[in-house]
């Protein structure tokens, strides 16, 4: 242990701690901007480039960046001396000198880390004026990019490279001309970008944002000709409350349903229903491949890999086009929901397809892109019309004069609003695997599971393994989150060294609860952990906790779909993948 003095306070911390973390441990919050460390995950950015976290260290001539300076025995640190405070303010003023400063209309206003520091440092005027950078603007299906607002913190570069191993974003050029851009200054749409959106999740300013669909939704809600239905994802209900000041991890399922109704949705259903459906189809596919394998078919593609996560789908289509037969052909829960809503339900209700608008509320930005995939549409009419993020929904609730805190709880509409606990846990890494195991075990063995929880596949560890005893057959499973961990598995698979039967992959750290459409975590990993705990509480509170026991799912198969992997299921609930390997690289 190391003892040092920070602002006249004695602090004892382990060797290797940064001055920034040591100060935080005794409640001294040194301002930082480029720095981000989502502890316990691989999300970390520490280039010490913004210089806002500088401190004075006795015996050193220059101010030191506290994020990149390790503690030493007897060190005497001042975080609020006159010299430090002046330097910090000057640095912030210089950042502002090349920033658009259009906060009033900036989509990041009130959630912007630069703005918060300006308020904190009491900067009340623009001290320096100079040339303004003219950089790229782009609007993709999922992400909106306005690089004029970029402060070159390089968090996006860190997540795109170290966390996701996608390698699209990085610094180019130097000095005033420097910017963060894809190869050859291409547009996102011409790169291997997976639209995971983690660059958006960590961007401190409004440079990288989600594409906003709130106005589009309002237009549809105001249109008397249209029937607009909602489907919110599992991870939304454990995070939405944060936008209204509730503790992270507060479950707001009932208020979520009410708020969607008050917004004017004609029917409020649940993506969790689609998640149960996914388990029915994917579970059947797992059993199908497993039985073929056990029957001696050595060519059957194992492991089978989950396919719920649209960024993961983009990732393997771009990087592993030779392995497209391994992922399950099951569509994502949101797309399964859309396909059923626009066929079975629309017919039942007598609503013409073109008048029905299916809107998904997602913790995700890649879902926006997924909605626009051609194969998920019929004659140009998409199964899910478009997707809003958790943040966009929160903005819309505030805009529509709804006091979220006093909303009553209400239930989702039937028949596509009923769901099991297995569906609820889709929102956390390991959740889809656990949900599938609950069903696969019971269908395969014909026995009731003695214990529903598969705790080995839970938690923030990057790659998790477990072996499940399926009536004497050891089923080997693996769960990965973040695409750099997925790459480790895929490289092994390509080399013929991946020894599992079932693999789950989610692109975002922690799974969907850490999705790029969620309320910003601002580097606080406790928020992700609280959401994860809430996901499992939601599961425990459900009367039905296995997908195949959801009565509305059973009914849907009985009256409409027939069997999992049956003709109609194959047509509506399964998809195929494309070779999207980039040609120039």
């Amino acid at each position: 242990m190391i003892t040092l003095t920070i602002d006249n306070r004695a602090v004892t911390v382990p060797r290797g701690t940064t001055v920034l973390d040591a100060a935080a441990s005794v409640g001294i919050n040194i301002p930082a901007l480029c720095h981000m460390d989502l502890k316990g995950t691989c999300v970390k950015n520490a280039p010490a480039s913004c210089r806002l976290c500088v401190v004075e260290i006795e015996g050193r001539r220059n101010l030191a960046p506290s994020c990149a300076t390790l503690v030493a025995e007897g060190m005497i640190v001042r975080t609020n001396s006159e010299r430090v405070v002046r330097a910090r303010k000057t640095v912030a003023e210089l950042i502002l000198s090349d920033h658009p400063n259009d906060c009033l209309t900036c989509p990041k206003c009130s959630d912007c880390e630069l703005q918060r520091l300006v308020i904190r440092f009491n900067i009340r005027r623009m001290t320096y004026k100079g040339e303004q950078s003219q950089r790229k603007h782009e609007e993709t299906a999922a992400i909106s990019r306005n690089m004029d607002k970029c402060i070159l913190c390089r968090r996006c570069e860190s997540v795109c490279n170290q966390v996701q191993s996608v390698g699209v974003l990085g610094a180019v050029r130097r000095g005033f001309d420097a910017t963060i851009a894809p190869t050859f200054d291409r547009m996102f749409k011409d790169t291997d970008c997976t639209y995971c959106g983690q660059c958006v999740a960590v961007c401190p300013t409004g440079a990288l944002m989600e594409r906003d669909n709130t106005d589009r939704l309002l237009d549809d809600l105001y249109d008397p000709e249209k029937i607009v239905i909602a489907q919110p994802a599992p991870a939304v209900r454990v995070a939405l409350g944060e936008e209204f000041g509730l503790e992270p991890g507060t479950i707001v399922t009932g208020k979520l349903a009410s708020s969607l109704r008050y917004l004017g949705f004609d029917y409020v259903f649940d993506t969790d229903f689609g998640a149960d459906l996914t388990i029915m189809e994917e579970g059947a596919e797992i059993l199908h491949r497993l039985k073929a394998f056990l029957g001696g078919d050595k060519r059957v593609e194992l492991p089978i890999m989950t396919s719920c996560c649209p960024a993961w789908v983009n990732f393997f289509e771009h990087n592993y086009p030779d392995l497209l037969e391994y992922p399950s052909s099951a569509k994502s829960p949101a797309q399964m929901f859309g396909a059923v809503a626009k066929t079975y339900w629309a017919e039942k209700m007598g609503i013409p397809r073109e008048k029905l608008v299916v809107v998904s509320i997602m913790p995700c930005l890649a879902k926006k892109y997924e909605c626009e995939r051609e194969e998920f549409s019929l004659n140009g009419n998409p199964d899910v019309d478009y997707s809003l993020s958790t943040r966009e929904l929160a903005r819309l609730i505030k805009r529509s004069n709804i006091d979220f805190m006093t909303l009553p709880d209400s239930d989702f509409d039937t028949p596509m609003g009923e769901s099991s606990g297995a569906a609820a846990i889709f929102g956390a890494t390991g959740g889809v695997m656990e949900a599938a195991l609950r069903t696969v075990y019971e269908v395969y063995t014909g026995k009731t599971l003695p214990r529903l929880e598969f705790t080995d596949v839970r938690g923030l560890q990057g790659i998790k393994e477990a072996t499940i005893d399926l009536a004497g057959f050891p089923l080997k499973v693996c769960v990965a989150h973040t695409l750099s961990n997925a790459r480790i598995l895929m490289d092994k698979l390509r080399a013929g060294e991946l020894d599992y039967h079932v693999v789950e992959v989610m692109a975002c750290p922690g799974g969907c609860i850490g999705g790029a459409g969620q309320p910003y975590h601002h580097g606080n990993v406790e928020i992700l952990k609280a959401r994860t705990r809430a996901i499992y509480r939601e599961d425990e509170g459900k009367p039905v906790r296995k997908s195949h026991e959801n009565p509305d799912i059973q009914q849907l198969y009985k009256v409409f779909l027939g069997e999992p992997l049956g003709e109609r299921s194959e047509k509506l609930l399964h998809t195929h993948y494309f070779n999207k390997a980039s040609k120039s690289s």
Partner: protein, 156 residues
């Protein structure tokens, strides 16, 4: 402009010479630039593939260092020194005059492929400031009014 297959094979050979090591990226880029005269997109993509790094990384390095160029240099590459000594003696005005006379910006090459224009920092001849080089030849104590005549020397 299309890079020949032969040139791309040369690039692959250079990567091999350096053991396809990502840590040798800058050395490989130097060698390729010396061999081909420039580093177009296709060349960078080949280097990225050989080294197993994202093309973005290669592009980031190429655009960072002024020695590297993505367009072919002219037959007579012009470099104007903007180092401190040259700058205080008016090399910015010399640069402006080169731009005007050649009709190109810094980093560009004239359409006939004859001249390219770049800036550099100090050629170690501060006593002659302001200084420019054309190919191997050094011109000192330049005045903007000299530029037209100097360029004309090469315009036979």
């Amino acid at each position: 402009m299309k890079v020949s297959c032969e040139a791309l094979r040369k690039v692959e050979d250079i990567c091999e010479q350096f053991g396809n090591a990502p840590g040798e990226l800058i050395s490989i880029l130097h060698e390729c630039q010396n061999t081909l005269g420039y580093l177009p997109e296709e060349v960078q993509a080949v280097i990225a593939r050989k080294l197993g790094v994202p093309p973005q990384k290669v592009y980031g390095v190429v655009t960072f260092y002024s020695f590297f160029s993505m367009v072919p240099k002219g037959k007579y590459p012009v470099s104007v020194c903007l180092g401190t000594a040259c700058y205080v003696r008016g090399s910015d005005k010399v640069l402006e005059e080169f731009k005007r006379v050649l009709g190109i910006e810094v980093g560009q090459t004239t359409p006939d492929g004859k001249f390219s224009l770049d800036c550099l920092r100090c050629v170690g001849a501060c006593g002659l400031a302001p200084v420019a080089t054309i190919g191997e030849k050094v011109y000192g104590r330049l005045n903007p009014s000299d530029i037209k005549k100097i360029i004309a020397e090469f315009e036979e």
